[in-house]
Symmetry: C2
Subunit: 292 residues, 2 copies
């Protein structure tokens, strides 16, 4: 891999997750389930995006940390619910048994629900409130990106499309929403925290949209050619689940071209910004080159 | 029944839910599932509490409507997830087949997730923003009340206690959190929207806490002696599911006394307030006298 992953920021997010993990004890199993899924070695890509975008607009990493951790709570919640027997029925995630396998379906559903609630709790309580109107915009951006015109909408189309022939337009809809929306919301939230103006916000939105799509396409690609040891799961799960994917619809080579195009588009969106964007460019390259 | 239910406010909430129901079309089944569960004739008790509390502090019903509708979105989401086969496995709710029975478990999980996301989306986008700091406090109050130290925590203790002998303290913990927390958050949110001072906020919090506990105790009682036609479900489900309840632990008569005590305590909490609280008192009496 040519691109350096921002490990320092990743460690900051990791420490933030420990710090902001909701205190409470009852019942133990709920916290164990949440903790199992949250602390199983994710890339923290979305949390890093919040922080690195905020940094581009002059906000210190520490200051953006609550929002960064909140999007990681949400990402983990979405994985727990996606893995449920009624949805993707996955047994392995990040090299570990999935939440419902270890703690039961009931607790897994509730652990996901809890992480989602605690994400908004965290932003509303801990995200520096010298700009409450800005923080409310962050809540709106993230809630919108996780609702019917975002993550859940995309996941629902994915669910109803499973096993069916889907066209490229539907596939793009799924990817934009299921995966893309939260990635876009992460970059946009970072920019809002930094008080970005309208024009910059548009550029960052475009960056996030292209990046999000590229991320899901490379996910599809890794599910075909990825290394199980690096991925922490068995490749081929999309094919087994008869999921629509880019490699499945247009072939591996075209899917790789498409991912590269989106990554280049993401980087091009940054060219309008005055500020330093080298880490955001690196993150885009990482999406194309990643092996996990 | 002696107490008049605030039907006018209920109709306002109903109209608000129609208005704020998230626009979007894809996939149809997700909207049908959300709509089925949201528009099946609930009491709108929590939404009414937001509006009537806000009114007590001088806020017009219309102005508090987005938050009122958001807590109804959340209440509906919690019912959809509670009814799932992995949790309470209920087939009937408000006289209708439950969400998963009609639309499948996968779509029911996602419909709940979507309503939860759209609740925060609604508050952050539509709740009048002349006081963003106040609206952020509302987000914090509601998110906290639905997380590990609220609804989900209570539900999780309920799940792990099912079929076991539980003590009165655990039962109170379940009731306070599973049902009480969102009821308290509804009253507190209304007060925050009205710019209530610290002292008033304490009184309203006490009111909401007592009311929430009373509400769940009367729910338990109705599950023993309620009229199936009025309830929209078959009584006796708690006993069948071996759930811990107040009538089960201390007998029907003591449970009724306890509910009455909590209702009186709720009303007493209002005595410190200068403003008109007759509707809030009536709502407390309704909780004791209700047959549905």
């Amino acid at each position: 891999m040519r691109v350096k992953y921002p490990e320092e920021t990743r460690e900051l997010v990791e420490a933030g997750l420990e710090r902001y993990f909701p205190a409470g004890k009852r019942p133990d199993i709920l916290y164990e389930a949440m903790s199992h899924s949250l602390f199983s070695g994710g890339k923290r890509f979305r949390g890093i995006l919040v922080i690195e975008t905020a940094k581009t607009f002059g906000v210190s990493p520490k200051k953006a940390l609550p929002t960064a951790c909140a999007v990681e709570f949400i990402h983990t919640y979405s994985l727990i619910h996606d893995d449920l027997p009624a949805i993707d029925n996955d047994y392995l995630r990040r090299g570990q048994p999935t939440c419902h396998v270890l703690f039961g379906e009931d607790i897994a559903i509730l652990a996901g629900d809890a992480l989602f609630a605690e994400a908004f709790n965290l932003i509303a309580r801990e995200q520096a409130a010298d700009d409450p109107a800005g923080v409310l915009k962050v809540v709106a951006e993230i809630a919108g990106a996780t609702g019917v015109c975002g993550m859940v909408g995309g996941q629902a189309v994915d669910v109803v499309s499973s096993g069916k022939q889907v066209d490229a337009e539907t596939l793009e809809y799924i990817h934009h929403n299921k995966t893309g929306a939260l990635i876009r919301a992460s970059t946009v939230s970072g920019a809002i925290l930094g008080g970005a103006d309208e024009k910059s916000l548009r550029s960052i939105t475009e960056y996030g949209v292209s990046l999000g799509l590229a991320f899901q396409v490379t996910d599809d690609i890794l599910d075909v050619i990825g290394d199980p040891g690096l991925l922490g799961k068995t490749p081929g799960s999309d094919e087994r689940a008869k999921k629509a994917t880019y490699p499945g619809i247009c072939g591996l080579e075209r899917a790789q071209e498409f991912a590269r195009e989106r990554v280049e588009a993401a980087k091009a969106s940054l060219s309008n910004l005055d500020s330093r964007t080298s880490v955001l460019r690196d993150l885009a390259d990482f999406v194309f080159e990643r092996q996990w």
